[in-house]
Amino acid sequence: MQRERIKFLIFAVLVFSAPLLFNGGYLMNVFVFVGIHTMLAIALNLLLGYAGQISLGHAGFFGLGAYASGILTATFGWNPWLAMPVSALAVAALAYLIGFPILKLKGHYLAMATLGMGIIIYIVFNETIDYTGGPSGLSGIPNMSLGGVSFDSDIKNYYLIWTCTLLTVLLSLNLADSRIGRALRAVHDSEVAARVMGVNARLLKVQIFALSAVICSLAGSLYAHTMTFLAPSSFGFNFSVELLTMVVIGGLGSIYGSFLGAALLTLLPEFLRAAHDYDIVIYGGLLMVMTIFMPGGLVRGIPALVRALTSGKRGGGNA
């Protein structure tokens, strides 16, 4: 427990001092997205890595939070601090409603159903032009502000978003280490055994689905107020798959793994710009190599790699 706290503190200090390195440059902007993506990856990881329930529609919840916040503030003039929790509550209610029937399904069937859910939400964004602006997007969303300070620059957004991300990390670490976290992993391993232990598996799955959706919705609200412009293409099927990739590459069932996955998949395309037309080929190749050689994800693969390298330097053999 003590070690977990120290780990989190180090992580928080690193996150908060990182902007000193960026010097206000372009990387700062990228790291704002790393923060949002970390929240989303953690949300999906709670569902997939802990409870073992797949979702291929999580970009939909992200989009719902973004559009709900965007429309409430830009069109109806709400305060962003009010729009954010109201959107999250609405998404929670929707997730409950969808969750009960959908989470009866397992494996491939659940994947199909959530995929359908994501696509339906995406179509709604595209077609309800009166509200969302359709394919041409929704603009004029205000930045968030607190006590007269408007979060209108990269550095301010960085601190706003990473504060929320760190809260998500803290909440998730605590949840994972609790009785509920154990129950989630138990349901993942054997639903029947979990049920005879007294776990109401069906309700628990719906609850974690809703919690996951709420985190996505909050990340969506933050995204909307950071970007001040929304278009449906950010919330399509591709992005759901990208989230899934972040979780798997980072490490299933690891909160810090979700951060690593989100960081890698957000930064990689930026660095690969140098390779011009070949960037997508290298990107895909790297992901394949990593899944083959680090099946447990970055969070388990990197320490193993370090161990292998350091023992190699000591003379090749291992004791």
């Binding site: 009785r179 154990r182 992993r185 391993d189 055994a193 005879v196 232990m197 007294g198 109401n200």
Partner: protein, 247 residues
């Protein structure tokens, strides 16, 4: 303590239990024996609420429980050790035991109590204490069975449902597990409903037994009587085979 009256349970079109009636008194060990597919596991799953009965009554301490979900039934004091152990493989031994006490986390006192019960399980199965932080999936079959029983005990059950605890285990381990069951009855007065393929060991331990065939109770009686019953001997104990088919 537990009474099943005319229970019928079906899996889709398969009628698995046909008018099964049985009863257990406080502090008894009762065994269900029968061939594969006789409905032994279904009886346990019906009692624990995993596969609810389509008709009939189940009374636990005079309270009807046949339509309650599994979590409510655990709360009333019925705990099941499922078939094939089903320990939570990616969880440590300690986490598995804590899962058994899932419904008991309510207060600080409860936590202290749970801790004490965990020590009791370790006293019962010292092997588990040595491996308290090991992942359950990496342990041997016998150790997993001990863990599955320990986990069920963590719910502080009044009635323990055991599904084939000897399955796939070495004779020595089976002996140890049966010794613990006997100890549980003596020291805690735990009532046990035991499903077994190993009819000999089960009848030796039990007070009474029921013999099942294709979803029906065909025989019931004191364990000692059943052990002497010619039909039981032939079909489940592998004795006196000759006398029967020479008859």
């Amino acid at each position: 303590m537990l009474r099943l009256k005319n229970i019928n349970t079906s899996y889709g079109k398969v009628h698995a239990l046909k008018n099964v009636s049985l009863h257990l008194e406080q502090g008894e060990i009762v065994t269900l024996i029968g061939a594969n597919g006789a409905g032994k596991t279904t009886i346990l799953n019906t009692i624990s609420g995993v596969t609810p009965a389509s008709s009939g009554d189940i009374l636990f301490n005079k309270q009807p429980v046949q339509s309650l979900p599994p979590d409510r039934i655990v709360k009333l004091g019925i705990s099941q050790v499922p078939e094939g152990r089903q320990v939570f493989k990616p969880l440590s031994v300690e986490d598995n035991l804590q899962m058994g006490a899932y419904l008991r986390y309510r207060s600080r006192e409860a936590r202290a109590d749970i801790h004490k019960d965990m020590e009791n399980v370790f006293a019962l199965f010292p092997r588990l204490e040595e491996r308290r932080s090991q992942l359950a999936g990496t342990m041997s079959g016998g150790e997993q069975q001990m863990l599955a029983i320990g986990r069920a005990l963590m719910a502080k059950p009044k009635l323990l449902l055991l599904d084939e605890p000897s399955m796939g285990l070495a004779p020595l381990v089976v002996q140890e597990i049966f010794r613990v069951l006997d100890q549980l009855r003596r020291d805690n007065g735990t009532t046990i409903l035991l499903v077994e393929q190993n009819a000999k060991a089960a009848l030796k331990l039990a007070d009474r037994g029921y013999v099942l065939e294709t979803g029906k109770v065909i025989l019931e009686g004191a364990a000692a009587e059943l052990m002497e019953n010619a039909e039981v001997k032939r079909a489940y104990l592998g004795k006196d085979k000759k006398e029967i088919w020479e008859r």
